[in-house]
Amino acid sequence: MLLSTRWLRLVERNALVYRHVWPVLVAGLVEPFLYLLSIGYGIGGLVGSVQVGNQALPYAVFVAPALVATAAMNGAIYDTTFSVLHKLRYERIYDTMLTTSLSPRDIAVGEVSWAMVRGCIYTAAMLVITTAFGLTPLPWALSMLPAALLITFCFAAIGCAVTTFLRSWQDIENVYLVQTVIFLFSGTFLPVDRYPTAIRWLTELSPLTRGTDLLRGLNTGAPGVALSVVDVLFLAIIGVIGLRIAIRRLGRLILT
């Protein structure tokens, strides 16, 4: 059960390993920042402002919450595909863990929790930068951190579930391709109401669209309550479903 805290052992183990590869984290922080400069200010200089509802936002202000959401998503997917696949198929660490009192549930919950710990670092750093640039003013920027953690939870759970279906590194390429599609077509760079109708329907169902919508609402300081609640529920439900699939599949893969 979730009440048991054995999954914390897995988080602890990952943190111990992580002490040695922290440069990866620093490198992972630089890229979203460069994207913010290039897209927010470079392309933003060409775009000027964007009409959202009845507000005209400078393009950098429009894009910043989307890039925070994307950083949360990318971190979550990376942490639960690349490294989990490695542990599952190559290092076979989970088999070893099952000889202790850990269960498949502890493993799935532990990996998702660890992704959230890292996601907290990524998104907090990203928010510090966007706030320093005046793109996400305080105090609302503080409310964006827990919202971004919800995005991390959702994508980490999906990532764990998907990884149980992957057979090799080649399959990871397909995951990254899907990730690119989600990144580019989730209202990140263009308000969703400017998409062609057929695409817009799909776009609205993307968890990143919901996450970006949530963060953007918070960033304007006047989030639409109804829509924000829908966003939160959507992300939470998809995340829980992903987690359940991950637990079931992990059990089947490593117990047999």
Binding site: A27, V30, E31, L34, Y35, L37, S38, I39, G42, I43, G45, L46, V47, G48, V50, Y59, W169, Q170, E173, N174, Y176, L177, T180, V181, L184, F185, F189, L190, R194, Y195
Partner: protein
């Protein structure tokens, strides 16, 4: 008897292995097309409302530059990964050098192969440009050789780095420090002259801005002879210089 270039044997070798692994390259072909659609056709709507960029629609501005930028990225990865692998882990070159092939043949063969790959991927990109209406005249076809030349010049430099580097992490570092910033700020997504002048001076020392400007002006039919020849000279100088450096590095690494 027919006379064949010995380097062709290396190309044949690569073609044989490629038949088994081509699927893992699909995402590197499709990914850039998604960027072209999302930014060129998507964000382009917002930019064209304000009159486009330098007299071009954003799609027409972006497409030739993106083709060259992607070729740079492909060239860097293709010049580094497989070559490092064949020097360190899977010593194919050692076997090749026991045949009548010499070090320059091996290097030339690898570059010819990369040239073939760049031609194939850039052709797909060109076809997508035409389908999206991003080609205004037959001059757009000339972006293809410019992209291949830019990619090759970068590949030659990265082959040198591969021959000198102790392990695969070198690529992560060089890619993050050089390739990603060049792609984001080298004139692909927004006009180069919007950057601070000291950044422009540094970037101008690399092949990318020259490839991008040459391709863009050729596609728009606005190129002038002397500046175009200047850009071309930089690309050729990188290719020749990169080849000579790589030959030297290969020689030191492969011949005891």
């Amino acid at each position: 008897m027919t006379v064949t270039l010995p380097a062709i044997r290396v190309v044949q070798h690569n073609l044989h292995t490629f038949r088994h692994i081509w699927r893992s390259y699909l995402s590197s072909v499709v990914g850039p097309l998604l960027f072209l659609i999302a930014l060129g056709a998507g964000v382009g709507q917002l930019i064209d409302q304000r009159g486009g960029v330098d007299g071009l629609s954003y799609l027409n501005f972006l497409a030739p530059g993106l083709m060259v930028g992607v070729a740079m990225q492909t060239g860097a990865l293709a010049g580094f990964g497989p070559i490092l692998g064949r020097i360190r882990w899977d010593p194919v070159y050692e076997s090749m050098l026991h045949s009548p092939l010499r070090v320059p043949d091996v290097l030339l063969g690898e570059l010819l192969w990369i040239g073939l790959r760049l031609t194939a991927t850039s052709s797909v990109f060109l076809a997508a440009m035409a389908a999206l209406g991003a080609t205004s005249s037959w001059w757009s076809v000339l972006t293809l050789p410019v992209a291949v030349l830019t990619g090759l010049s970068v590949a030659a430099v990265f082959a040198t780095i591969a021959a000198l580097s102790p392990n695969g992490y070198t690529y992560d570092v060089v890619s993050r420090v050089v390739i990603v910033p060049l792609l984001l700020f080298g004139g692909v997504f927004f006009p180069f002259d919007r950057l601070p002048s000291f950044v422009r001076v540094v970037f101008d020392l690399t092949p990318l801005p020259h490839g991008v400007m040459l391709a863009r002006e050729l596609a728009a039919g606005t190129s002038m002879l002397i500046p175009s020849l200047g850009h071309l000279a930089v690309l050729v100088a990188y290719l020749v210089g990169g080849f000579l450096l790589a030959r030297h590095a290969f020689q030191r690494r492969l011949v005891p």
